[in-house]
Symmetry: C2
Amino acid sequence: MQITCPVPVSETTLITMGHGSGGLLTHKLLQAGVFNLLENEWLNQQHDGATLQLNGRVAFSTDSYVVSPIFFPGGNIGDLAVNGTVNDLAMCGAAARYLSLSFIIEEGLPMEAFYTVLNSIARAADAAGVRIVTGDTKVVEKGKGDQLFINTSGIGTIHPRAAIHHHHIKAGDRIIISGPIATHGIAIMSVRKGLEFETTIESDSAPLKYQVLSMLEEYGDAIHFLRDPTRGGVASVLNEVAGLTSLGFTIQQQALPIDEQVEGACEMLGLDPLYVANEGIFLSVVDPEYAEDIVALLHKDGSTQAAVIGEVSTEHPGKVLLRSRIGGHRVVSYLTGEQLPRIC
Amino acid sequence: MQITCPVPVSETTLITMGHGSGGLLTHKLLQAGVFNLLENEWLNQQHDGATLQLNGRVAFSTDSYVVSPIFFPGGNIGDLAVNGTVNDLAMCGAAARYLSLSFIIEEGLPMEAFYTVLNSIARAADAAGVRIVTGDTKVVEKGKGDQLFINTSGIGTIHPRAAIHHHHIKAGDRIIISGPIATHGIAIMSVRKGLEFETTIESDSAPLKYQVLSMLEEYGDAIHFLRDPTRGGVASVLNEVAGLTSLGFTIQQQALPIDEQVEGACEMLGLDPLYVANEGIFLSVVDPEYAEDIVALLHKDGSTQAAVIGEVSTEHPGKVLLRSRIGGHRVVSYLTGEQLPRIC
């Protein structure tokens, strides 16, 4: 795969409504950019869909990405859109294999921005070991969108040892987090608010596929549940999971890994990091017998701040409790309203 | 499946940014609306993705729908989004089975409009025999979207007798259209321009799955290629297909079915119906030996205006020629610029 595709010289410098017409400009945009950059045996057919051979259990997931701004420290909407869906599949215990890619472009988007995003998509797909096999490009009038929205949907093959289901969560299970919280949300927020730190806080957006597959390969059905705490943060996601079971979740504040600068930024912005969005980490609910071994495996695989952060019990069913650093308890509820809109 | 789901009384009357936060409002919106209305064994898991068992050849397709206005005669963005992707899969020779559903909602969308669209989605999915198994809901600020954009991606099982590929198109093949052209585009345009006709021109948006499966069941690999002429119309789609082969396509103007009112509206608006978008019809390129039988089958299946409209030859390779009613020839090129933006 060609990794860098310059803006074709013959093109206009801005995306126009005609690029979404289905006519000649659409054809040129796809030929010069998308097909060239992402080429593979499926996309090359330029048909309405891709034909795949699949056997067995697969996972299917979708997400639309509306992050604002579309470029931020550590990434852009393109790699976020690839990693996000790769990760949703990983949370089903699946290795992402095929992605669809659909653009909604606001008229006037600089062609160069579009190509930069496309290049990031190609690199992220390569890094995550997925192929973009089918797609769509729409253009809306200026003022009817916001530069660029991307939808990716994905198909992944479920690991033969995976048995991920909220029904498998049991009292006594340990809750593991794979890395420090709130990094992605604060990276986006610091651009929006024009905050400056000693070193730039970069988004941790990354594919979680390899860590998850490695865990499943080794520990199989000892991994009861997986979920990446994106929108709404760790607090909202644990509330969702607790709501699906008739069990209670308790987490230890002091066990939660968080980058010092990110924590400082949260304080400055008046944000509770438990509600801030993440992109490059995941929560797992696992058999207590293997919890420490699983954390050790995550450390070995490069997630050096992975930690057991809490456990599941029959007490306070459906609720999430936080044991604070000074020993008190408080109920951690769903995010109400909007703490950080459009972070993914 | 419950077919009508009233707006939950406890909800606010407008969609707010909080409905896209991933927190409590998102949870309530999904519980009261989406999960309730579209419920099935996959969606009920409320996980990041759906787990499916698939064996054999499948087709995978995606489309984002940005039609404006979102309500139009004969349908709305909801059934369009279901039928559109079901049809893209049909064009691969596949029976749509599973869809993903992703919303990008502009803040301020009336809750009632959202529920009306959801109800249409549920009905259209039922009619097309597909299950919505995974989804996503994002909200963007007022002025950063346009009421509602929807992405659907789909997985379908390819008919065992299907062999749809542009490589299979041969000189001598006949081109069949399944119904009258330009209806959908003119239905949308007439709302936008406030045009009134004797009877309302309604979109022909419909699932093409059953007609296509019936054709494949009966004629198998005599069906060489399928494509629905949506954006860019019949002219652009035939140009795309001609470009993929080293063959020429000739169509007969007098053979092209078109509704009289639609033709009148095209004249009034100065639009060439060959470039106007369609939603409920498809083109097929078939073995000449079976062309008339296939047309007869389409008539029997309710596509009473299906007709052979042209043929493929080794002349004028890569080009599309129109033989006019008075016997002249002209090259029909790609749509340049934007004849009818945002019709799907």
